[in-house]
């Protein structure tokens, strides 16, 4: 059984690539980095590692217990590695999708989206509270099939390493064949966008084919047509690290506390933005409203000149 953590070996590379991207930003796009944002992102990464050391043991115990009752023994055959990697990436797609579609999971995953910047340091903005979501249960089918937990952990490590380089604006598009199959900076920029068109799209880790298969793929539009805004629907507006880590947990628990009994569970399990009184918007509601606005703008484009004097500062909407 190999004793190997690929992420540990990748960390020096992460640091060097962040440095290289900063130098690129210095000459090409100084607003791509912000020192306080970078500090928060990297502190997230360090805290996430510590949280993993403190809390990851529970998941390992569950996996080892599940492995004892596995259906098959796949072992350490060479072919098991690529198979495990692909199935682990499929698992990642679904755990990631839940991370956006259930507030319990979102309370943890929101950490990764809380920066308004999109650079390689954002990739390291990893959650401290993932263990509280029990998201590791998504990997149990692989364990029960007979993949050894250590093999799954190593494949997961390589998956995480792959996802590092796609957090950049320095790369526009990869070759067409690559964009068709693999997750790329372009696809993942869409995932981090708050533009209504892009909300809750492109959940893939390594292979973008999962999004195409399950109907969640959205291609990036040219920046001049639709510039991307990164972050979350209600931007934090704060560089406070602890607030960034725990704000959604605090908000969710407050909502559960205040909600009528019959709605409490919904505030835990339903999508972010859901409210029992309709006072907030989910990503689906935001997209639907935006699409209605776009249709209205397209339908009344000729009338806009006439109505402009009534709203002297309100220019025409374009793709938001």
């Amino acid at each position: 059984m190999p004793d190997f953590s690929p992420v540990d070996y990748a960390i020096p590379g992460f640091v060097l690539l962040v440095l290289a991207e900063m130098l690129w930003a210095r000459w090409k796009r100084p607003q791509a980095y912000e020192p306080r944002d970078t500090l928060v992102s990297l502190a997230f990464g360090l805290g996430s590692t510590v949280a993993g050391l403190l809390l990851g043991g529970f998941a390992l115990l569950v996996f080892l217990a599940a492995y004892d009752v596995r259906l098959f023994t796949i072992g350490w055959e060479w072919w098991a590695w690529p198979l495990c990697f692909v199935l682990d990436d499929l698992k990642y797609y679904w755990v990631h999708r839940f991370g956006h579609r259930s507030r319990w999971f979102w309370a943890s995953h929101v950490n990764h989206h809380s920066s308004q910047h999109y650079n390689l340091s954002t990739a390291l903005r990893q959650t401290w509270t993932g263990a509280f979501t029990l998201g590791f249960v998504f990997a149990l089918p692989l364990v029960l099939l007979g993949f050894h937990p250590v093999m799954i952990a190593i494949c997961g490590g390589f998956n995480l390493i792959y996802q590092f380089w796609i957090h950049t604006e320095a790369i526009d598009r990869m070759p067409r064949w690559f964009e068709a199959v693999m997750n790329t900076p372009s696809h993942h920029r869409v995932h981090h966008a708050t533009n209504p068109r892009y909300l809750d799209r492109n959940y893939a880790g390594v292979f973008i084919v999962w999004d195409k298969l399950f109907g969640t793929f959205e291609a990036e539009r040219p920046a001049e047509e639709e510039p991307i805004r990164y972050g979350i629907v209600k931007q934090l507006g704060s560089f406070n690290l602890l607030w960034a880590v725990f704000h959604e947990w605090i908000g969710m628990l407050g909502d559960i506390w205040r909600a009528p009994w019959k709605h409490k569970l919904s505030y835990l399990l339903r999508e972010p933005g859901w409210s029992h009184d309709g006072s907030r918007e989910t990503s689906d509601m935001i997209r639907a409203r935006w699409e209605a606005q776009q249709q209205a703008v397209a339908g009344t484009a000729g009338d806009e000149v006439q109505s402009a004097p009534q709203k002297p500062i309100a220019g025409p909407r374009r793709a938001a």
Partner: protein, 137 residues
């Protein structure tokens, strides 16, 4: 000292060095809001459901107040190299003095915002102080 502690200290040092390099390279200069049209566009970006019909820009371009046709008011200010907006809730505190308006949103983590609004500071103060709690909140 065990290897994990060393790794932790090394990582912490690397973090501080990288953030320091970003600062030395002068990355991430704070932007200004250049005109009302820009403030309107930023407000729409901050909340795609907020369509401003009125804007007041701070004299230094560091922040803006916007109102929509429903009487809602949004405050907008830079956050790093970008902007962050808040639709002001009932419970927001506002105080005008000498043409300066200081707003403390009910969302305390957003922080206070001071705008140089000149003669209109008092009027905006009154409007913010009379914000009503939404009927369905």
């Amino acid at each position: 000292m065990d290897s994990q502690t060393l790794q932790l200290i090394g990582s912490l040092a690397a973090i501080l060095v990288l953030a320091g390099i970003a600062w030395v390279l002068r990355l991430g200069q704070t932007p200004r809001i250049e005109g009302e049209a820009r403030a309107v566009a930023l407000a729409r970006e901050a909340d795609s459901g907020f369509d401003p019909v009125e804007a007041a820009l701070s004299g230094d371009g560091a922040a803006a107040l916007l109102a929509d046709s429903q009487g809602r008011i949004m405050v907008l200010r830079p956050h790093g190299t970008h902007f962050a907006g808040r639709i002001l809730d009932h419970g927001t505190r506002a105080a005008a003095e000498g043409g300066m308006l200081t707003i403390i949103p009910a969302d305390r983590r957003y922080g206070p915002v001071t705008l140089d609004l000149g003669d209109s500071a008092q009027a905006w103060e009154s409007r913010i102080q009379t914000l009503q709690r939404p009927l369905n909140a």
